[in-house]
């Protein structure tokens, strides 16, 4: 078990280091295979750890510490990994889906000049994410947290000669930094009270903290989760992050990194349970985000942005589930979402790759006729996303709604929001599907489509999509809430579902029927508007404008934060830095020169002067001798 955990953690790091050390000595392709192999080895390690944990008697998990890293007084923290049901669950998802996506990248990034850098970064990302989920104490989690933020920055800005990509990378990093700061503050409070960042110790002290303190700690953690998972209000970075390559969007911004917030809530749920209000705030933010994101996705014209807003919306579901206390449900949705969202991104990537890197759906109209295999894969993913049985989304999304229904009146409100979200999901997903994949190919698509040796793409891209299609279909069959729930049982020792979030069978049934019905209704409306010919779409210009500006969040943040910062920076530069700081350097230099010039006048070159110095020295020494006696 220990071997599996360490192998899983360090294999991708070894991949990164190897690629970095080899540099340009290896061909680009080889870098891709090294990276893929390292992530698959990590997956092997995850499987090993999983089965070992299953076989062992200690189901609550074991922490292995490699060495003590930091010791200050009574505070001690080490490099440790935790193998428990939750962490093995996450390891399998991260390494498994990650491995498929890295394999896909070999085909997608083929021909890029700096491919090796990409694979080094992506291996680094997988390592960071595994560190995050395997971390045995909060400090390791924070280290992984920061590193995934870094990897995300590096990969979003991978095409660094594009100013938009660079700006998006900075935006992502800065917004994540806000979350990191709140998390760090929460950790400081925990250290102050419990002198430890070990999970058990910190959670133990959560009982003893005062109400305000534990609420603050929970808020700090929530801040980090919200930033990393792109929930309102720290969500504006995620659509811009689509500037990165499509596999990056699939891996980081769909399957794994953005789900880190959900993992955090599940991991630190003892703290959140002491601060129930904050937990419910998390659920509320999730519900709000899923609505807002769903609405914005209705008007997006970039294929990746639609899927990005969909991601934001689905993570809202996960937050909702975790927030009301149904941790296993939220995590189950995390798993199925990883499958079908990655599938959607990768399928879209095949289209983008085949049609001259075009992402505008209006230009890509009807490309499904040219790429049937991709069309079916995308359809599977879309149906899974909407939650149509027997696809995976159905099994994971409906229990969340049911759990919310069970939980007091505000739960019902959030459940209603989630149901409306289900309708919107159906609508925007199939809007996308019908526009892009149905109907006659547009002139643009026909002109720019080029097959890859007769097939729609290289095998390195097709195989992962195929695997993910299968997973998107069957992945949900792992748990059917009322009847058969091995996942909840597996996660029970570490993430027990709160009683308040355990719905009755009736509520489950109502939730499922309503969700599926609304989803199908959404598909139907989409069919009417976009599928069957060119029907004119009813437009409400004011609403359209609001949606197209993404509810003016970007403009608001610009006015609230960016402009004042710019004004302050300009003022400081003009009135402080240039006259005081920069001038000091020049003044010091000039002063030194002046002193030098003055001193050099002693060098008269005359012998007499030097004799004079001897005489003066004699006089001074005489004075000293006289004074000292």
């Amino acid at each position: 078990m220990r071997g599996g955990a360490w192998l899983c953690l360090f294999a991708p790091l070894a991949g990164t280091v190897l690629i970095l050390l080899a540099g340009t000595r290896i061909p680009r392709r080889v870098a891709g295979w090294v990276s893929t192999a390292s992530v698959f080895v990590a997956f092997g390690g995850a499987i090993w750890a999983f089965f070992a944990l299953r076989a062992s008697s200690n189901r609550a998990g074991i922490t292995y510490t490699a060495w003590t890293w930091l010791q200050s007084g009574q505070f001690k923290v080490g490099l440790s990994v935790l193998v428990d049901p939750l962490s093995t669950f996450m390891m399998l998802i991260v390494a498994g889906v990650g491995g498929l996506i890295v394999l896909y990248s070999i085909g997608y990034m083929d021909g890029d000049d700096e491919e090796r850098r990409y694979f080094a970064y992506i291996s680094l990302f997988v390592f960071s994410m595994l560190l995050l989920v395997e971390g045995g104490n909060l400090l390791m989690l924070l280290a992984g947290w920061g590193l995934v933020g870094l990897s995300s920055y590096l990969l979003i800005g991978y095409w660094h000669d594009r100013p938009s990509a660079v700006a998006a990378a900075k935006k992502a990093f800065i917004m994540n930094a806000v979350g990191d700061a709140t998390m760090a503050l929460a950790f400081f409070v925990l250290i102050a009270h419990s002198n430890s960042l070990e999970f058990a110790a910190s959670f133990h002290t959560a009982d003893t903290l005062s109400s305000t303190t534990v609420n603050l700690v929970a808020l700090g953690l929530l801040g980090g989760a919200v930033a990393k998972s792109a929930q309102i209000p720290l969500h504006t970075w995620l659509p811009d992050a689509m500037e990165g390559p499509t596999p990056v969007s699939a891996l980081i911004h769909a399957a794994t990194m953005v789900t880190a917030g959900v993992y955090l809530i599940a991991r630190t749920h003892p703290i959140f349970e002491q601060a129930r209000t904050v937990e419910l705030v998390a659920a509320g933010l999730g519900a709000l985000t899923l609505l807002v994101a769903g609405l914005i996705a209705l008007v997006q014209t970039d294929i990746k942005k639609v899927i990005a807003y969909s991601t934001m919306s689905q993570i809202g579901y996960m937050f909702l589930g975790a927030g009301v206390g149904a941790y296993a449900n939220g995590l189950f949705h995390l798993m199925t979402h990883a499958f079908f969202k990655a599938l959607l991104f990768l399928a879209a990537g095949i289209v983008i790759h085949a049609v001259a890197n075009e992402q505008d759906i209006r230009k890509l109209r009807g490309v499904g006729a040219l790429m049937p295999w991709t069309k079916w894969a995308f359809l599977a993913g879309a149906l899974a996303l909407v939650g149509v049985p027997p696809f995976s989304g159905f099994f994971s999304k409906d229990p969340i709604i049911a759990a919310a229904l069970h939980d007091h009146w505000y739960g019902v409100v959030m459940a209603v929001a989630a149901l409306v979200g289900a309708f919107l999901t159906g609508l925007y997903t199939f809007r996308l599907y019908f526009i892009v994949f149905r109907g006659e190919p547009s002139a643009f698509a026909r002109e720019h489509y080029h097959a890859h040796h007769g097939k729609e793409g290289p095998w390195t891209m097709l195989v992962p999509v195929g695997v993910l299609t299968v997973l998107a279909v069957v992945g949900g069959w792992l748990q059917f809430s009322p009847v058969w729930h091995p996942l909840t049982t597996w996660l029970d020792p570490v993430a027990r579902t709160l009683a308040v979030a355990e719905p009755t069978n009736t509520q489950e049934a109502i939730a499922s029927i309503l969700a599926v019905g609304l989803g199908l209704a959404g598909i139907g409306v989409a069919w009417v508007l976009y599928g069957s010919g060119e029907r004119a779409v009813p437009r409400v210009p004011a609403l359209q404008r609001v949606l197209e500006h993404k509810f003016y969040f970007d403009e608001a943040y610009d006015a609230l934060f960016y402009r004042p910062a710019v004004v302050l920076a300009t003022w400081l530069r003009r009135d402080f830095e240039e006259p005081v700081v920069l001038a000091t350097g020049t003044d010091l230099g000039e002063g030194a020169l002046d002193i030098g010039e003055g001193a050099s006048r002693i060098q008269t070159g005359l012998l007499r002067t030097y004799v004079l110095f001897v005489g003066t020295g004699l006089a001074i020494v005489g004075v000293i001798f006289l004074a000292v006696r």
């Binding site: 070159g605 005359l606 012998l607 007499r608 004799v611 004079l612 005489g615």
Partner: protein
């Protein structure tokens, strides 16, 4: 016989020494510099003789004679240098004789 105490002689010696030092420092003609050095040496001699008289110790006078001999040797060599410089048509000016060349 009486007369002024030793301290007065020492005062004169100090004045001679200081005057000689001043001459060394401000004159440019090397001959005058040598003359100023002579004054300094004589100041020292006077102090030695005065202390010899005061302490009834002959060593002071012996030392003064030695100093006189050394001063003579030094002047001999110094004036030889001056003559050699003059023969080379260089300027007899310590400010200009600043390089060991020529």
């Amino acid at each position: 016989m009486q007369g002024p105490g030793i301290a007065w002689y020492l005062g004169i010696a100090a004045f001679l020494f200081g005057t000689g030092a001043l001459g060394v420092l401000i004159r440019r003609n090397p001959i005058i510099v040598l003359l100023s050095l002579e004054i300094m040496l004589n100041g020292g001699n006077l102090a030695l003789i005065a202390f010899a008289r005061h302490a009834h110790n002959g060593a002071g006078q012996i030392f003064a004679l030695t100093v006189m001999a050394v001063a003579a040797s030094e002047v001999c060599v110094g004036l030889g240098l001056v003559v050699a410089i003059n023969r080379k048509r260089l300027a007899l000016d310590v400010d200009k004789l600043s390089e060991l060349r020529g």
